[in-house]
């Protein structure tokens, strides 16, 4: 039967993701990682992976488990794998971070943890890939947003496999020349596949469905949207070809990478025009905070692409274009993630708690579960801090960077507190908060679908 039910473990993924975001940003605010340490230093790698896997990865997986069935109007396949996958991912990440800590000289840790972490992460993301891919496969022909997710999954698989090879080399378990060549040459490609391929491409796909829904705009795919898919997929294919070339003992072809970068920037420009057109075509005149905050994230994506495309700004961005990567990760991916969480968490909570009594009792509206003014202040502070931190990386002023990081950390914690309050229904006026017939409790770690008959 068509229709989507609540994904029971999405809230667990979100809770874990928020925890890792606080840990990751807390470590940065405390001075761990770049720019105090080298971009390739183990401590930087630990922070990067806490954020990339712990925060962004779990957030994306949790969102996909809930929204892929909505995108293709078919039930999720293998839903029993969701919880084991979460366990593998968290444990794998902790082992990976332990291995990096050993490389950084922390006593009591061993680099031998790295391949075990890699193995668990391959298993966890493998299970996720099986669930999503099987759901998509059963729902062919795929609508455009789902085709973005299919490509994103391909990028995820490539990212994780390359990462697993890295763990084998860094732990000393493998000394094969090709594997060593990958560690020497393919780290930026691993990052590009993960951040731009898996996370961004998937987020773009989901946004093509969610934005029209929230803004009441037409969601017929445009020619530009299809062009975003083609150019983005071509860019990813080129990057994967270069990784394969390195693994086969060759070298990444310079022109292929330049072409991939050109395609990627072009895709971002096309996507930006789509976003502007969508916003103009919306029937809903005053948009909610989550949309306004998402557009700030889109602006960050656009600026990151422009700064990356210009040779002068790219060379001024520091080691490994760190300032641009920072803007990409915190302005675009994290900003969009926080903005969407601010919509998704209240909505899922509302559906879980009030769904069973809709039409039978007076219930609050979804927007009654949140207090937009307060969250708006936190989001403004957040984006302001990201902008300041990015600028400070360009101008090489570590003191400003630390202050901006502390502000960014504070804003993140403030927003997460808002999410917890929404989930706890604490902003709902008491007479409507607990209508008769509604579920007796609500959990932060699991959604109970009181509506399903199973």
């Amino acid at each position: 039967m068509p229709g989507a039910t609540l994904s029971p473990w999405t809230m667990s993924y979100f809770s874990a993701a928020c925890l890792f975001l606080v840990i990751g940003q807390g470590m940065m605010a405390a001075g761990y990682g770049y720019p105090a340490a080298d971009v390739h230093a183990p401590v930087t790698l630990a922070v990067v992976h806490i954020l990339a896997i712990g925060w962004l990865g779990l957030l994306m997986v949790g969102a996909l488990l809930q929204f892929v069935p909505v995108l293709v109007a078919a039930p999720l396949r293998g839903r029993r794998l969701a919880l084991p996958a979460l366990g593998f991912l968290i444990l794998g990440l902790l082992l990976l971070v332990g291995g990096f800590a050993a490389l950084a000289g922390v006593e009591g840790m061993s680099p031998g943890l790295l391949p075990f972490g890699g193995l668990l992460l391959v298993t966890g993301f493998g299970l996720v890939t099986i669930m999503i891919a099987a759901t998509l496969f059963a729902a062919r022909p795929l609508p455009l947003p789902a085709r973005f997710i299919a490509v994103g999954l391909g990028a995820l698989v490539a990212t994780i496999l390359v990462g697993a090879i890295f763990t084998l080399v860094l732990s000393g378990a493998v000394t094969h020349d090709a594997a060593i060549a990958l560690v020497l040459d393919a780290v930026p490609l691993h990052a590009a596949l993960g951040l731009a391929g898996w996370l961004s491409f998937t987020a773009i796909g989901v946004s093509y469905r969610l934005l029209p829904m929230f803004m009441l705009a037409p969601d017929e795919p445009r020619a530009t949207s299809r062009a975003v898919w083609w150019t983005g997929a071509a860019a990813l294919a080129l990057v994967i070809a270069c990784v394969t070339a390195i693994a086969l003992g060759g070298a990444a072809v310079k022109w292929a990478l330049a072409l991939a970068a050109l395609f990627a920037v072009f895709a971002v420009v096309l996507y930006s025009t789509d976003l502007v057109l969508l916003f103009r075509a919306r029937r809903r005149k005053s948009v909610e905070l989550n949309i306004r905050a998402s557009y700030a994230a889109f602006a960050a994506l656009f600026f990151a692409a422009v700064l990356f495309a210009l040779p002068t700004t790219r060379s001024a961005a520091g080691e490994g274009a760190a300032a641009i990567v920072y803007l990409f990760v915190f302005g675009w991916l994290t900003g969009l993630g926080l903005a969407q969480l601010y919509k998704i968490v209240p909505f899922l909570t509302w559906l879980e708690y009030y769904g069973p009594v809709l039409g039978r009792a007076a219930v609050p509206r979804v927007q009654d579960l949140v207090e937009e003014k307060r969250a708006g202040v936190w989001l403004c502070l957040y984006y302001g801090a990201v902008a300041a931190a990015t600028l400070s990386l360009f101008t090489d002023s570590p003191a400003v960077f630390r202050i901006a990081l502390v502000a960014q950390f504070g804003a993140t914690v403030g927003l997460i507190v808002e999410l917890v309050r929404a989930r706890a229904l604490s902003m709902v006026a008491p007479p409507m908060r607990y209508p008769a017939g509604a579920p007796s409790s609500i959990s932060f770690f699991r959604s109970l679908d009181h509506r399903s008959n199973q």
């Binding site: 039967m1 809903r284 039409g359 219930v363 509506r451």
Partner: protein, 182 residues
């Protein structure tokens, strides 16, 4: 379980019939009656019209709504026209227990929810279903497929059937109120 959308084909639906000859004989205007009948068609249902002349202008109107026509002269110089929905429209989806749509009564309530933000259409439909009596049918227009509504309707014992119109901009659905379960 076989998805209901595969078993629920237009062939299982008896065409709706309207004879406008009496209206015309009494000097009335049949267009309104025709449009009401057409608006009340179940997804995928055909429409048979009896008229004292070949209703040429109507062909164009129905064409625009995605119906093909087949006209034949019957005895007495009258005409019988069968309008069948083109297969190009989105397939009809329905709840697992929605068996024979042709026995569903005509909608007693029409809701235009196309301008409402989700999840408000869901709230309105569930509230309307609470008001109506078992067996009553309501018709609703939405701007998108109410994915989260379907399981809630099923849980409450209501049947539904719906699909997108030809332009894929409006989702039309019928909900038949069931006997309360939970």
């Amino acid at each position: 379980m076989t998805p209901a959308s595969e078993t629920l084909t237009p062939q299982t639906l008896v065409p709706r019939e309207l004879d406008v000859r009496p209206i015309l004989r009494s000097g009335g205007e049949p267009f309104r009656a025709i449009m009401e009948a057409v608006n009340g068609l179940k997804p995928g249902q055909a429409f048979r019209l009896f008229a004292p002349f070949r209703p040429q202008p109507l062909f164009k109107v129905m064409e625009g709504r995605g119906f093909a026509h087949e006209a034949q002269e019957i005895e007495g110089g009258d005409w019988e026209v069968l309008f069948t929905p083109r297969q190009t429209g989105a397939p009809v989806e329905a709840s697992a227990d929605a068996d024979d749509l042709s026995v569903w009564s005509d909608p007693v309530e029409h809701l235009d929810l196309t301008e409402l933000d989700p999840p408000e259409p869901m709230v309105r439909i569930l509230a309307a279903a609470e008001r109506l009596r078992p067996g009553d049918v309501l018709f609703a227009l939405l701007s998108r497929e109410p994915i989260f509504l379907f399981p809630e309707l099923a849980k409450r014992g209501h049947q539904w059937a719906g699909n997108f119109d030809e332009t894929r901009t409006t989702f039309r659905m019928f909900v038949r109120v069931g006997t309360p379960k939970a």
